[in-house]
């Protein structure tokens, strides 16, 4: 039992330096909740920007004199 734990530990220690820097960075950044929330919001805004013509309900530059400063 203790032996297997020790071999597992030494195996992970000897394997760790083999991990590529990019993989290590990805693994470490994915663990961070704040960074992932930020990344999710950024991706959402990028999709919003790309899909703007499809998502926007109205023409953004069309004016309407009957709708001046109306909430909803």
């Amino acid at each position: 039992m203790a032996e297997t734990a020790m071999t597992a530990a030494s195996a992970s220690r000897s394997l760790a330096p083999l991990e590529r820097p990019l993989q290590r960075a990805l693994r470490r950044v994915v663990k961070r909740k704040g960074a992932m929330i930020g990344l999710g919001l950024i991706i959402a805004f990028i999709l919003l920007a790309i899909g703007a013509p499809l998502l926007a309900p109205y023409d953004p530059i069309a004016t309407s004199w009957t709708m001046v400063r109306k909430p909803r």
């Binding site: 470490r28 961070r32 960074a35 930020g38 919001l41 919003l48 926007a56 530059i61 069309a62």
Partner: protein, 224 residues
């Protein structure tokens, strides 16, 4: 006829303008930081790698540019270039360049004294090859973190320039110019300011969160 975010002083749909405004803001963030990276990193690498007179000259110019506050420099450049979104991006990019020059220079000087650079030189690698193959990948983490945080600053700068009328020109939407239009109606039509303001807040917060996370994750001294 439902306008979820209301309409503005000319009867335009605020939701549609916030959605289209995301294009101006994100493009300004990405392109201006792209300009700063593509100008600043090569100059910084030259400065840090060469040393001597070239380094002294570049460093003094960088110091001079850093002496001006980022936003003031961007406003001055945008006013000089003329009001348009493209010129605002160029102005913000140039204003952000000295930060990248200095960061790159410092990182290159750190890496330059490593044993593997001596090893590369001893097997006959050219200076260009050492810079691109051995130094550049090793300074990437620092550049990536700075670039992410700079995108947030660039988006605020774009909103500020558009607020002042130096960025996106009417009638095309930008979060900054929407805030400018909304300030006259803050008491009577506050939704005009709330939604573009919230959009700027969320995007800038997101980039800062990602930048902070990347900095912690890429820090070799940090074990977690």
């Amino acid at each position: 006829m439902t306008h979820w975010f209301g309409t503005d002083d000319l009867g335009r749909d605020v939701l549609s303008r916030v959605i289209f405004g995301a294009r101006a803001s994100l493009a300004a963030g990405a392109i201006s930081v792209g300009i700063a990276l593509s100008v600043g990193v090569p100059i910084g690498m030259l400065s840090g790698y060469r040393g001597g007179f070239v380094d002294a000259l570049i460093s003094r110019i960088t110091d001079a540019m850093l002496a001006c506050p980022f936003l003031i420099l961007a406003i001055a450049l945008a006013a000089f270039l003329g009001p348009s979104l493209g010129n605002a991006m160029i102005a913000i990019g140039i204003s952000a360049t000295p930060i990248f020059v200095r960061l790159t220079r410092g990182e290159v000087m750190n890496v330059r004294s490593e044993d593997y650079i001596d090893a590369a030189r001893s097997v006959g690698d050219s200076n260009l090859r050492i810079a691109l193959v051995h130094i550049l990948p090793n300074i990437m983490p620092a550049l990536l973190v700075q670039a992410t945080l700079s995108v947030a600053a660039a988006i605020i700068a774009e909103a500020s320039l558009s607020f002042l009328g130096l960025g996106q020109q009417p009638p095309f939407p930008s979060w900054g110019s929407m805030l400018n239009a909304a300030q006259r109606f803050l008491t009577s039509a506050s939704w005009m300011a709330i939604w573009p303001g919230l959009a700027i807040f969320l995007v800038v917060l997101s980039f800062n969160l990602l930048g902070d996370g990347l900095r912690d994750a890429l820090d070799p001294q940090n074990d977690k």
